[in-house]
Subunit: 231 residues, 2 copies
DNA sequence: GCGGTTCCCTAACAAGCGTTTGGCAGGTTA
DNA sequence: TAACCTGCCAAACGCTTGTTAGGGAACCGC
């Protein structure tokens, strides 16, 4: 990474709307320059697509520019760096994700209903942010070492707390099996949901809700035929 | 990738022991040079570890050399290129995997027992080739575009045939539920197993067999408590 | 003690990387 | 008409990358 630390560290009119978790705190270098947010979104969408397909490191800034129909340098009118594109993609996704999750967790549902709602919400997020989810899965682990991406770890901790907590509540309430290792169960449920982003294509034959329904059916009841169940 | 196509395309004593699927067919350039296989293994192991931790593209050849306690150029005494290290890591893993799988599939077990055996075998492979599995998962998709790595797609096709076939047999034999989308179930089971490589650490508190047992229990019977089952 | 082999180091190479700089066309405002 | 943004291009920058060439130390069999 030839990041020759920029020579003009002037710190101008740092006035952002401050809702984002991470990239919002970064100062905007060039003072007079104000690119339109719509174009940013467009470019971030194509960038996310390329990142997801090729991997972040394998994606050159020239490939992104290519996909966007422009030249490499032109991207720097809209963004500070390649890394800040990644940052914005991931943090935007996580913000939206937690909006949904927090709503579910605040609803005061029972353990089973909470799991069902979380899974359904997750598939909706995958539907909306397929590329971002795919990037997250591939890169999160080694990104979270960098200070800039610490919010990834934070999110993961929060994530684990929500899911694990719900599972434990469920075991205590005897709606989930007590003979399983809860951590193992957590990872099992978490992974099965999110890896779906690697094969899911929006507009396919199954809606997010339908996929969620089937996944939940498998996770909760298993894929084996039951001998005979009396209720 | 500064791969300046080598200027000496001489094609010497091409005599390999020809068991490997992919890299074995590549000619050895330098005629007089014969590095020891043991050292190769060692270096490949550390390379795999770094690849798995940082991602293939983010891993520079200098980092690998560092981890191995040598200098970047020295690696080229043992290997043609960075890419051929990746190749050898992946193909070695896949060869061993298919040895195990083929044995299971040839055993003539019933559908449920086949699934159980495949899952158990998979966790054993994860135990043995954790790094390679992690690399495979992160990189396989975009690698299989390159001709050199076409064997990854081939393997995936074979893989799908084995699992999907077994599941369908199971549905026909009424040991697996018929009300689920079989493809979805396949992806579910497949993903459930293999993502474990991302958190599994050999020598942990659970043996591969124990993890397999719990995973199978979840996949087959679900995590919900059953009302009352009469056999 | 000599030729050969094994394994690594030193030092460079050209290509590709992310990024910067300056400028120019088109639209908007005055 | 002039001044001013916005969005992009053209061309270069310094660094890092994968890779190579040549050499040298240690050990071998003879």
């Amino acid at each position: 990474m030839p990041t020759k630390t920029p020579k003009n560290p002037k710190n101008p009119s740092d006035a952002d709307n401050a809702s984002h978790t991470s990239h919002a705190s970064r100062a905007k270098k060039k003072a007079q320059v104000t690119p339109s947010p719509e174009r940013r979104r467009e470019l971030l969408d194509t960038a996310a697509e390329v990142f997801a397909a090729q991997g972040y490191n394998a994606t050159t800034v020239r490939k992104i520019a290519d996909a966007a129909g422009m030249l490499a340098g032109s991207l720097y009118y809209h963004f500070d760096s390649k890394e800040s594109m990644l940052d914005e993609i991931l943090s935007t996704f996580l913000n939206e994700l937690w909006e949904g999750y927090d709503a579910v967790l605040a609803a005061g549902l029972g353990p089973r209903e909470t799991i069902e709602a979380l899974v359904t919400e997750s598939f909706r997020e995958i539907d909306r942010h397929r590329a971002a989810v795919a990037i997250y899965q591939k890169e999160a682990r080694h990104l979270s070492d960098q200070p800039r991406f610490h919010y990834l770890s934070d999110s993961q901790v929060k994530f684990e707390k929500a899911w694990l907590g719900t599972l434990e509540r469920g075991v205590a309430a005897q709606v989930f099996r007590a003979d399983l290792d809860v951590r193992l169960t957590y990872r099992f449920v978490r992974d099965t949901v999110w890896v779906a982003a690697s094969w899911y294509r929006p507009g396919g034959q199954h809606s997010p809700e339908e996929i969620a329904r089937q996944y939940l059916s498998m996770v909760l009841d298993g894929i084996a035929v039951r001998p005979y169940v009396r209720t």
